[in-house]
Symmetry: C2
Subunit: 112 residues, 2 copies
DNA sequence: CCCTATAGGTAGCAACGCAACCTATAGGAG
DNA sequence: CTCCTATAGGTTGCGTTGCTACCTATAGGG
C-alpha cells in the first residue's frame, strides 16, 4: 500500500481498534494487522504520534499501568471518540462511493 | 469531504477522467464532478498542479490548442499512464478492502 | 459596463504518515 | 553468561500533497 494512501483515514482505524475494548498502542498495531489479515501493518512511528494526537483531541483517554515489568499506556474511547468513530465510518462510506465512481470501477467486491 | 482524505488518490481520479478521451484541465474538473454527482468538485488549485505533476511523470501528454479564442491544454493518457491507471484501480480495491475491514463496517454497499 | 462562466496558472501553508533512530524489559537459544 | 527477539514506549525531521488565496484573460449575457 502506497504511503500517502492512508492520509486522513488513520484516525478512524485507531478509533475502531479501540471500540471493542481498551488497548495499549502495541496492541492497537496488532489488532489492525489481525483484522486486515496483514494488509495494514503500521510502523510504531505512525501509531504512537497518532494516538497522542487523538488523546490531545479528547477522542481517547490514556492511563499508565505496569504489566510483567513493562509499562503500558492503555487507551479507551471517550464519548467524543465514539461520536468521531461514527462520523469516520459514514465519512468513509461516502468517500469510498465517490472514489469508486470516479475510478469507474465496479462497486466492489465486483461480484459478477 | 475532509481535505486530507483525498491524499494519494487524486492521481488515479485524474487518470480515470482522461481514460475515455483526452480532456483539458477544466473539463477534467467537470468530468469528476459529473461522474461523482458533485461529491468530488476539486478547486483548480488542486487540478492544475496535479496535471503538471502527472505530465512530468510521463503519465499524461499535454498539447496546446485554441478554441473559441481561449487557449486550452489538452491531456491524453500515455501508455505508462494506462498502466498506472490500472495499478491505481487495483490499489484502490485493496485499500478499500483493508480500510473497510479495519473500520469493521459491512462490506458495502451494505446490500442486506 | 459589469458579471459570470470558462480557461489557465502560481505561491505558500498546514497536515500527515513514515523512516530512522533511541531506550528498556522478559525470555529463550546458544 | 551472552545474545537475540518480541514486546512496549517514544522522538525528530523529511517529503509529499492538496488546498487556500490570489492572479490573468476571453466570450457572452444582463
Amino acid at each position: 500500500m502506497r504511503a500517502e494512501a492512508l492520509k486522513g483515514h488513520l484516525d478512524g482505524l485507531l478509533l475502531a481498534a479501540l471500540e471493542e475494548r481498551p488497548r495499549h498502542g502495541y496492541a492497537v498495531k496488532e489488532a489492525l494487522r489481525d483484522t486486515t489479515e496483514g494488509r495494514i501493518d503500521l510502523p510504531t512511528g505512525t501509531i504512537y504520534p497518532a494516538l497522542h494526537r487523538l488523546e490531545r483531541a479528547g477522542l481517547i483517554a490514556g492511563s499508565w499501568s505496569v504489566v510483567g515489568g513493562r509499562r503500558r499506556r492503555s487507551y479507551e474511547l471517550t464519548a467524543a471518540g465514539r461520536t468521531a468513530l461514527s462520523r469516520e465510518r459514514t465519512g468513509w462510506q461516502e468517500f469510498a462511493i465517490a472514489i469508486t465512481a470516479a475510478l469507474g470501477t465496479r462497486p466492489w467486491p465486483a461480484t459478477s
